[in-house]
């Protein structure tokens, strides 16, 4: 019987798993299968420094060129896995090949949510998920060009920040009544709207896109409210969806992500899953989470590798995220959903540095820190501890951050 470990997907979780499998002492064959033409690379810079042209492929590539060969890993790029056959313990690929496995790691990540309105397939309508997407967007980067961004979330706002600096006329359209409504308090949303407007970005909230106009190439975005926004190109950033189809078709349990336990085990003991595609238990929050983050991909990559190598390293951490826009470094610890009190430290109305602490029944559950690294680092410690905080001490800047918990 094959003792091969096959990893489906070649993103951040997969690259981490390869490294960790060898570090954990697994010496058997490893196959790494990805459908892009590239070895695993970092996605976060794609909407930031990579889009801005400040860094190239060599800086986003996760591992050195010869890392995989040196680690004895067989790599198959441009290869799509089409089926997991659990009965025969093999996988099938789009080019008609089949490979037996001993154990499997599903690290298929996520894909962009597509917009389903008339004109969606016109030239000039783009998404941003991979290197090819960025290259297509960069081709439009000429000073004075008009760009409409559909969606005022992280991706849309990061793209807007890069583009406006390149002299592009940028309009962001957001369905909700404020940007980043899904993830932050109105205080933070309004701060970002203020900064973007000051930098020259037009932000229109409460706008639902109803279609794209143009004969073969997009020339305008129309809204259900009857407005029209002329443009030369569009970037759509309206969220991502987990790639769970392979797992679902193979009969694994899928509920808003491939269901795994704290050891990254799926409902099949020979199959683990890691990264964006999973739904996993989180003890700190007492519920299942599906996360879209590098931290989660790295940590689950480590945990899955340990499990596959016959060890147990449970994953139970407070998630964290970041977003770079202009000179603003937004660092987020935890998940603020369900908070009953938002306490501000610093002044979001003026300047560019403050933090918002989210409490639920007095317990710190999350922090959004804008250019506030000390608050971010302290929040990592306090959220993991589920610390009870006094709102007065949080807001009082005469008390050093390290003493905020008393």
């Amino acid at each position: 019987m094959a003792d091969d470990i096959i990893i489906i997907g070649a993103g951040q979780a997969a690259a981490q798993a390869v490294q960790s499998l060898r570090a954990e002492g697994f010496t058997g064959p490893i196959k790494l299968i990805g459908d892009e033409p590239y070895a695993p690379y970092q996605r976060p810079p794609l909407s930031k420094k990579y889009l801005a042209g400040e860094i190239g492929y060599d800086r986003v590539e996760l591992k050195a060129q010869d890392f995989y060969a040196d680690a004895g890993v067989e790599t198959l790029w441009r290869t799509r896995v089409t089926e997991i056959d659990r009965r025969e313990k093999r996988i099938l690929t789009g080019d008609g090949r089949e490979f037996p496995y001993g154990k499997l790691l599903i690290a298929t990540g996520s894909r962009v949510r597509e917009i389903n309105v008339p004109g969606f397939d016109l030239d000039g309508v783009h998404y941003l998920r991979n290197i090819a997407d960025v290259e297509a967007i960069q081709a439009h980067f000429k000073s004075g060009a008009k760009m409409v961004v559909v969606g005022g979330g992280y991706i849309g706002l990061e793209v807007a920040a890069v583009a406006v600096k390149r002299g592009i006329d940028v309009t962001v359209l957001e369905t909700a009544d404020r940007v980043m409504a899904r993830v932050v308090d109105p205080i933070v949303s309004h701060f970002y709207e203020r900064v973007h407007r000051a930098e020259g970005v037009k932000i229109e909230t409460g706008v639902t896109v109803s279609g794209f106009e143009g004969t073969d190439k997009v020339t305008a975005v129309t809204s259900g409210e009857g407005k029209s926004f002329p443009c030369d190109f569009v970037v759509v950033g309206i969220g991502i969806l987990p790639n769970t189809e392979l797992a679902m078709e193979a009969g694994l349990t899928v509920e808003n992500g491939i269901v795994v336990d704290e050891f990254c085990r799926t409902s099949d003991p020979d199959i683990c899953a890691a990264g964006d595609c999973t739904s996993h238990p989180n003890g700190v929050y007492g519920r299942s989470l599906r996360l879209e983050s590098v931290h989660n991909a790295i940590e689950q990559g480590k945990t899955a590798a340990a499990t596959l190598a016959g060890k147990e390293k449970p994953y139970n951490q407070v998630p964290w995220f970041w977003s770079d826009q202009y000179d603003l470094k937004l660092q987020i610890v935890g998940l603020s959903a369900g908070y009953d009190q938002a306490v501000v430290r610093g002044d979001p109305e003026a300047g560019r540095s403050f933090a918002v602490f989210y409490l639920k029944d007095g317990v710190l559950i999350a922090v959004d820190a804008v250019n506030r690294a000390p608050e971010f680092m302290m929040a990592k410690i306090l959220t993991q501890k589920q610390a009870v905080l006094d709102p007065k001490r949080i807001a009082d800047e005469t008390i050093p951050v390290k003493e905020i918990a008393g």
Binding site: A23, L62, A64, K329, M377, I381
Partner: protein, 106 residues
Amino acid sequence: MAKVTYIEHDGKEHTIDVANGLTLMEAAVKNAVPGIDGDCGGACACATCMVYVPEEWLAKLPEIETMEETMLDFCERREDNSRLSCQIVASDAIDGIRLQMPESQH
């Protein structure tokens, strides 16, 4: 180019030729050097790439900026010669540098 030697806590050495412009954290992660995690990919947001720099090399590095200082301040194993390797960019000037790694980044 800079020849960089990363020394694990147990004394095991890894020497890598690092192209100018790459950070010493990136080079370590790309080459799977154990002991440098670099969880944030160089955004100076995680403090999991701390290293100890011998005195003779410390003076050749640019000064610590506010962000790095803040992150270091939260590192449990910080010493006077601690730096974050994500903030050290390879150049001919540091060819031959040796970095000692902590027992753990957490």
